[in-house]
């Protein structure tokens, strides 16, 4: 009896031991993994208020850390510049900050902000003006007054304008040093037309002609509260922050109402082969494409899937074929770009050693033809693309700051505030048939421009195949 009891006891104790701790059975194959459901995603909604002077204000609380972040969008943009003064908007954006205000010199402003480890920055891009402010919540009331001052009363101090102009001039002098800049500029000219503001380029002449009066006039024309949207996220109570905004922005009188003129660009690309000689490279840069789309396009969701299949992931066609399989490139990319209120570009691009320039051009055009004609998107590809986008949706709303930034963009470009939810629903509903149809419609090899930037010696044989190759002169005017 005694001898039998012990093993039974051991067995009982052993089995108790086994069940006491959670036992992860590690899987052999990834397909065997099962995941619990993700909690429901709730997208935080800011408070939206429009002041009497037309300023639109969005406020969102975030109490994780004792900081506040303010972002502004101003209705302006470099695309509105007169031809003779290209660079004016950018300079206005830069010197608005560096030049100080009518009561606060630029250097004093720098000392003040850096001493507090706070920041105020301003800028003007192609289609929008921006301003931002970051500081500890304790400094909010004080720094936001300075922020308004910078936006409302910039002094554009002459010595600061001179520094900014010098920087632009130096940038022009260097604009052909790296091939990436050349590709971007020349491709934009080919797609939008060289006279379009969407392809404009600063020159020594245009920058040289810009005066302080020009900056003041630009500011005077566009910087009014009825042309602004303000977003605040941080460790505040909404009511308090709104009261503060009303106090510091409320007295700024409303400005004139006007609509901006249409910005011209060519609505279809003229096909052709173009070449830029740049001999200090061991690669050729190749870019092939035409005009892209606007996000509001009815085919937006299907084309997003097309882009995912082409270039959106490791399993994507371009990566797998041109990089992993053929070893022709480290960077290869392709897709139909989307703009907010004007079309972006659609392009297939890569860099490859000069010896394989021809193979590179062929590989890219082949992939374009495949996806729109000979090997259209499969059910599996569409399913995988949808899965990636839907499963990663949680990241697009993973912080109050990120959500507020997106809402500012939607507000500025006139998109519905539930655009994110519409995106998710739209992707969910997309069918393979829709993706195939949209791909055929929006990737147009007969409209392709082909641009090659690289050494003449290495690329000559690749280009010899074409009946006509237009050589582009990128020499810097006035140098």
């Amino acid at each position: 009896m005694k001898r039998l009891q012990l093993p039974i006891l051991v067995l009982i104790l052993a089995s108790v031991g086994l069940t006491a701790t959670p036992a992860w059975s590690q899987v052999e194959r990834v397909e065997q993994l099962h995941y619990p459901p993700l909690p429901e995603i709730t997208i935080p909604e800011p408070t939206r208020v429009v002041l009497g002077n037309g300023l639109v204000v969005l406020l969102l609380e975030d109490h994780e850390l004792p900081i506040v972040s303010v972002s502004a969008r101003i209705r302006t943009g470099a695309r509105l510049e007169p031809k003779e003064k290209i660079g004016l908007a950018g300079l206005t954006g830069t010197v608005m900050r560096s030049g100080g205000t009518t009561t606060l010199a630029g250097d004093t402003l720098d000392d003040y902000l850096e001493g507090k480890a706070a920041s105020i920055e301003t800028g003007i891009g192609t289609s929008v003006g921006t301003a931002s402010m970051n500081c500890l919540i304790e400094d909010f009331a004080e720094v936001v007054k300075v922020f308004v001052d910078v936006l409302k009363n910039p002094s554009f101090a002459p010595e600061k304008l001179a520094i900014a102009k010098n920087q632009l001039m130096a940038g022009i002098a260097r604009q052909n040093d790296n091939p990436d800049g050349i590709v971007q500029r020349e491709f934009a000219k080919l797609v939008y037309g060289k006279d379009s503001p969407y392809a404009s380029q600063e020159t020594y002449a245009t920058v040289g002609s810009i005066t302080r009066e020009d900056l003041l006039a630009w500011h005077q024309k566009y910087y009014h509260p009825n042309r602004m949207i303000l977003g605040l996220v941080g460790d505040f109570k909404t009511a308090d922050a709104l009261a503060l905004v009303k106090r510091v922005f409320g007295q700024w009188p409303k400005g004139p109402e006007f609509t901006d003129p249409e910005v011209p660009y060519q609505h279809s690309t003229k096909p052709g082969v173009y070449y830029v000689e740049k001999n200090d490279m061991t690669q050729a840069k190749i870019i092939i494409g035409h005009l892209g789309l606007i996000r509001m396009d009815p085919d937006y969701h299907p084309v997003v899937i097309t882009n995912q299949i082409l270039s959106g992931s490791f399993g994507a066609r371009l990566f797998s074929s041109i990089r992993s399989k053929k070893g022709l490139a480290y960077d290869v990319h392709g897709g139909v770009g989307f703009g907010w209120d004007y079309p972006a570009t659609a392009s297939f691009s890569m860099s490859t050693k000069t010896e394989t320039t021809q193979a590179g051009i062929d590989a890219l055009t082949e992939e374009a033809h495949k996806i729109m004609k000979t090997e259209p998107p499969t059910d599996k590809e569409v399913q995988n693309a949808k899965a990636s986008l839907l499963n990663s949706f949680v990241f697009s709303v993973d912080s109050p700051g990120k959500v507020l930034g997106k809402l500012l963009t939607y507000e500025y470009y006139g998109y519905p505030s539930d655009w994110m939810t519409r995106f998710r629903n739209g992707i969910e509903r997309v069918t393979t048939e829709q993706v195939r149809r949209a791909t055929q419609q929006h990737i147009k090899p007969d409209q392709f421009v082909i641009l090659v930037v690289g050494p003449r010696k290495g690329t000559a044989s690749a280009l010899a195949r074409y009946k006509q190759v237009h050589e582009l002169d990128i020499s810097i005017p006035g140098s």
């Binding site: 992860w24 850390l65 920087q167 130096a170 001999n279 399993g315």
Partner: protein
């Protein structure tokens, strides 16, 4: 070097503590000068309470931070091996292995491993045979060509079993984002973020890929790495300059060769080389993983034990014994190039573990941080000779003695000599005059503010935690480190400046614009 090409072109160099996007300090116990103690220390104490550390028996260390802002998490695994561990003939191998770590395992990325395994063995045999003949000056040319063809046949045969990019594909299909990796002179890092319900996917993939990586598509990937080299180094003026500068600066120490590797090495290292490198360095005691986000240590730790605990312990990796001898001669590299002038000068300095590192951080801040910095105010604002000027204090790495590098972009029509003089004037000032109280106060204030701003990112936190753990042996060193800033004195700065900024300790590198070549048509 990164595995995927970021459109914003990251550089392999890092700003250390003084760049807001890089510093991710976790906690603080000292009283901060400029900020109300309550709000700040409260948020930091809260953060520290959310950290759990766990080390496996095999030595793999995990740092877990609960940050449930959204149902997501991010991780970074930092392996304590970089290009400095490479020997002659295999430069670029650490980075090459980083690429290999995306190729899968016997269970992922293959259509039939039972058939693939022998095919890969035969492929390697064929390549080694071919390579030996290729480098044999006595070998018959036709024979070498035949061996090359045999190798290509075996390569084709092995590639038919490959399920392309299945590893990365699965991560993305399950909602993963920010998938990438990087290699530096000191370390190799792997990272991505996932929705929080996919924790087991992370544990499976990140243990599998280091438990038994399969080096499929090795020779195809060498071509990809060559394109990366052509893009980053060979086709950019500053890329060309930096490669020359780095090689000139280090006579003996492996910091002298580029992380991407020299072209001839990239084109001749083998699967066997990569396997040996991996066996020697990818061992659990060289790994630290930080996981940050909506995670629960109680359930996560058993998961980590089960998956990562499978990896066997290994003997320690060899330690790098070479020490760069003190510099006794000034060196200059001048590159005649079609592009605009560019100037930099580097001074040798001790490794990051040296007691004077906080003094170097102070020097960095005072000389280069922001519009109030000395470089900006002197070169850009007052003298108007540069459009940008700054410094990298951790070039090309920081684990071993390295370089402090000042650089300037001359304005249009300005010679390199002018920016050189201006930089040296500022360095001389540091030796002969005390910095001001305001400058020291600003340095401390900004470092502490970055602490707060930097806590808002799962991936950023994971990167910093593993960074400090690797360099200092303890992630907590981050907050001890900040305390050291309070002890940096004006006399310290003068002493370190005098020691470091000396002629004999200097390497200059510059681009001089060459006259344009005659038109080719």
């Amino acid at each position: 070097m990164t595995y995927l090409h970021n459109r914003t072109h990251p550089t392999p160099m890092r700003h250390r503590l003084l760049s807001a996007s890089i510093i991710k300090v976790l906690s603080l116990i000292c009283v901060l000068l400029a900020f109300p103690a309550s709000a700040l220390s409260q948020s930091l104490e809260t953060f520290e309470q959310r950290v759990t550390e766990h080390t496996l028996k095999n030595g793999w260390k995990f740092i877990l931070v609960e940050r449930p802002v959204a149902p997501v998490f991010a991780f970074m695994t930092r392996v304590n091996v970089g290009s400095a561990q490479e020997g002659a003939g295999v430069t670029g191998l650490a980075h090459m292995f980083e690429h290999m770590a995306f190729k899968g395992t016997p269970r992922l990325g293959t259509k039939n491993y039972a058939k693939e395994k022998p095919a890969l063995k035969q492929l390697e045999q064929a390549y080694l045979t071919y390579q030996q003949a290729k480098f044999d000056p006595q070998a018959n040319k036709q024979h070498v060509e035949n061996l090359f063809k045999a190798f290509k046949d075996k390569q084709k045969a092995a590639s038919q079993f490959v399920k392309k990019n299945e590893f990365g594909d699965i991560i993305e299909r399950e909602g993963g984002v920010s998938l990438n990796a990087f290699t530096s002179a000191d370390v190799t890092g792997y990272f991505y973020a996932l929705p929080s319900n996919k924790v087991e996917l992370f544990a499976y993939l990140e243990s599998e890929r280091f438990l038994h990586p399969v080096f499929r598509e090795f020779y195809e990937e060498r071509d990809v790495v060559m394109e990366e080299r052509r893009m980053r180094t060979e086709s950019r003026p500053v890329g060309r300059l930096l490669e020359q500068f780095t090689a000139t600066s280090f006579m003996a120490h492996p910091y002298h060769h580029p992380v991407i590797g020299f072209a001839s090495d990239i084109q001749s290292y083998t699967m066997t080389d990569a396997q040996e490198f991996y066996n020697r360095y990818y061992i659990p005691t060289n790994m630290v993983t930080a996981i940050v986000g909506d995670i629960h240590p109680k359930t996560l730790i058993p998961l980590l034990e089960k998956y990562f605990g499978r990896i066997p312990s290994s003997p320690k990796s060899p330690t790098l014994r070479t020490v760069e001898p003190p510099s006794t001669a000034e060196k200059t590299v001048t590159l005649e190039d079609p592009s605009q002038p560019f100037y930099l000068e580097g001074y040798h300095k001790p490794s990051i573990s040296h007691k004077d590192q906080p003094v170097f951080d102070a020097i960095d801040d005072i000389l280069t941080n922001g519009r109030t910095s000395r470089f900006y105010r002197s070169l850009v604002r007052d003298k108007k000779i540069a459009v940008a000027a700054g410094a990298y204090g951790a070039y090309p790495g920081e684990k071993y003695p390295h370089l402090w590098v000042a650089y300037a972009v001359p304005g249009r029509g300005v010679e390199n000599a002018a920016v050189q003089t201006a930089i040296r004037d500022e360095l001389k000032r540091l030796k002969t005059e005390d910095v001001t109280d305001e400058e020291l106060a600003k340095f401390r204030t900004r470092a502490k503010a970055h602490l707060i701003y930097s806590l808002k990112s799962n991936l950023g936190l994971a990167m910093s935690l593993t960074d400090y753990h690797t360099l200092f042996g303890d992630w907590r060193e981050l907050f001890r480190y900040i305390e050291r800033f309070d002890k940096v004195t004006k006399a310290d700065i003068r002493r370190v400046a005098k020691q470091t900024f000396q002629q004999s300790n200097l390497v200059v590198a510059q681009i001089e614009t060459a006259a344009p070549p005659a038109q080719t048509h």
